[in-house]
Amino acid sequence: MIKENKGSALGTVILGIIAVVFLFPVFIVLINSFKTRFAISQSPFTLPDSLTFVGIENYIKGVRDTGFLSAFFWSLFITVFSVGVIVVFTSMTAWYITRVKNLLSRTLYLLFIFSMIVPFQMVMFTMSKIANSLSLDNPIGLILIYLGFGAGLSVFMFSGFVKSVPLGIEEAATIDGCNPFETFWYVVFPILKPTSITVAILNTMWIWNDYLLPYLVIGNEYKTIPIAVQYLKGGYGSIDMGAMMAMLVLAILPVVIFYLACQKYIIKGVAAGAVKG
């Protein structure tokens, strides 16, 4: 018994050390965001002192140079509406192609699955040109593009769950006089809730952090947070490391808050998504 306790105490200590190693990079970025750019490149591992401490100067400069506030707004706008649109429309599509058995449904299903294995580089050039010529190169148009790109995984995950929804419930709703639209929204969609949460979380993680797609489609006029961070690098590879550190902190902060608030759902969703994907 005593031996067992010793073993588990040692285990906790070792895991504790690993946890510190895991948190270390974020901690370094945080302390450096309050230092002069010179001190950041020369001694990034020391705490700010009276010589190197610059207060929130880096934050002010970074926010001003990158237009961080508008980037934050656009990131939030694009993520929230894209995820909402994806959950609403792909769940409807998944229900339809699972319930209506014909060649078109089967073809669509296979195409959605196929799209999941195609790397973005394959379509980035043609997609951004098409988006441009259809005037989709704005935040609203980007939502439509995210619906198309997110459709593969989302339809696939919803379809997997729809198969387990008993037909009897849907038939009862039809007999009670619901049309398919009402049947879906009043009966099926509430049952799909766990999958909706998983789909929403996986798509949020993807869209919030996505860089290349929004950069190619709307990057000339609008910045999201990843675009704003990359923008700091400038044309000739010179970076204001002070402003960069401050922007990294501001980019990580919303993610950490979201994570701590929805941790249970995120970890469950990621595990569920992986098993199905």
Binding site: I40, P44, R99, T174, P180, F181, L212, V256, I267
Partner: protein, 281 residues
């Protein structure tokens, strides 16, 4: 009900279908066609056959180097990520104190975007190398190691979550029976735990291989391919071919098709192995 539902096709399928057509299907088909064409924009294409594919490999050695670098990075990262993630999952399924807190911490980096991750590690690695008078772009080895460390930091927690789910699904009586039969820890691990979590291992291998192979953001932010394109991975090379110089759009598209075929082959292999085991099990 199916007949009534059929008439509702425009409501249920059309929005997703149109978006899918515009964002994926048409660009994909055009992409295949354009890889056989010479073009600047998508409207001035001239069919040239396999010229772009030949140029992708012969014009310079960028693409071959990038693919080779990608393979090296992927092999090392996949092995280290999965071993460390599996070890952590074993440790976190023993009911130790603070298990939930550790799980929260280990998973956290996975939520941070690739661009941000790249700059975080650039500061740290440059900070270490500064003491020796180097920076991450002085030598390709530093860039490779940096990418591997970064990828480990990002993906270990994710794979750990999947392994934990797999380990927790092992029926308790099997483990008890093995213990009663006097199986040691090592034998338990190799004869019972690992065979029982094979589905999780397949998923994790596939996720790590494809994520490493397609890596772009982290590569762009950490080294952007420096020095002299030596740390440029395949995705970044394709991007630079498209947007770096005018006149290489067709070559870029041909490289993209080759890249797609490799990724698709990996996916089919995964499907084959998963299917095979499901039949056996």
């Amino acid at each position: 009900m199916e007949k009534t539902l059929k008439r509702w096709f425009p409501v249920f399928v059309l929005p997703t279908g149109i978006a899918f057509l515009i964002a994926f299907l048409i660009p994909f088909i055009m992409g295949i066609y354009l890889s056989f064409c010479e073009f600047r924009t998508v409207t001035d294409a001239q069919f040239v056959g396999f010229v772009n594919y030949v140029r992708a490999f012969t014009e310079n050695s960028d693409f071959v180097n990038a693919l080779w670098f990608t393979v090296k990075f992927t092999v090392v990262s996949v092995i280290s990520i999965n071993i460390i993630a599996f070890a952590l999952a074993l440790a976190l399924t023993r009911g130790l104190k603070g298990t939930n807190l550790f799980r929260t911490v280990f998973f956290m980096p996975n939520l941070i975007g690739g661009i941000v991750l790249g700059y975080i590690w650039q500061v740290i690695i440059n900070g270490v190398l500064y003491n020796f008078g180097y920076s991450i772009t002085s030598d390709a080895t530093y860039g490779l190691l940096g990418l591997i460390v970064l990828m480990n930091w990002q993906m270990i927690g994710y794979m750990m979550i999947i392994y934990i789910a797999g380990i927790q699904n092992i029926p308790h009586d099997i483990l008890e029976a093995a213990k009663v039969d006097g199986a040691g820890k090592i034998r338990m691990l190799f004869n019972i735990i690992i065979p029982s979590v094979m589905p999780s291992i397949t998923i994790c291998l596939f996720l790590t291989i494809t994520n490493c192979f397609k890596l772009f953001d982290q590569n762009l932010a950490l080294t952007a391919g420096a020095p002299a394109k030596q740390t440029q991975m395949a995705a970044l090379d394709i991007y630079n071919t498209f947007y770096g110089r005018i006149g290489f759009e067709g070559v870029g598209q041909a490289k993209a098709v080759v890249f797609f075929l490799i990724v698709a082959a990996i996916a089919l292999l995964q499907l084959y192995f998963t299917g095979k085991r499901e039949v056996e099990g």
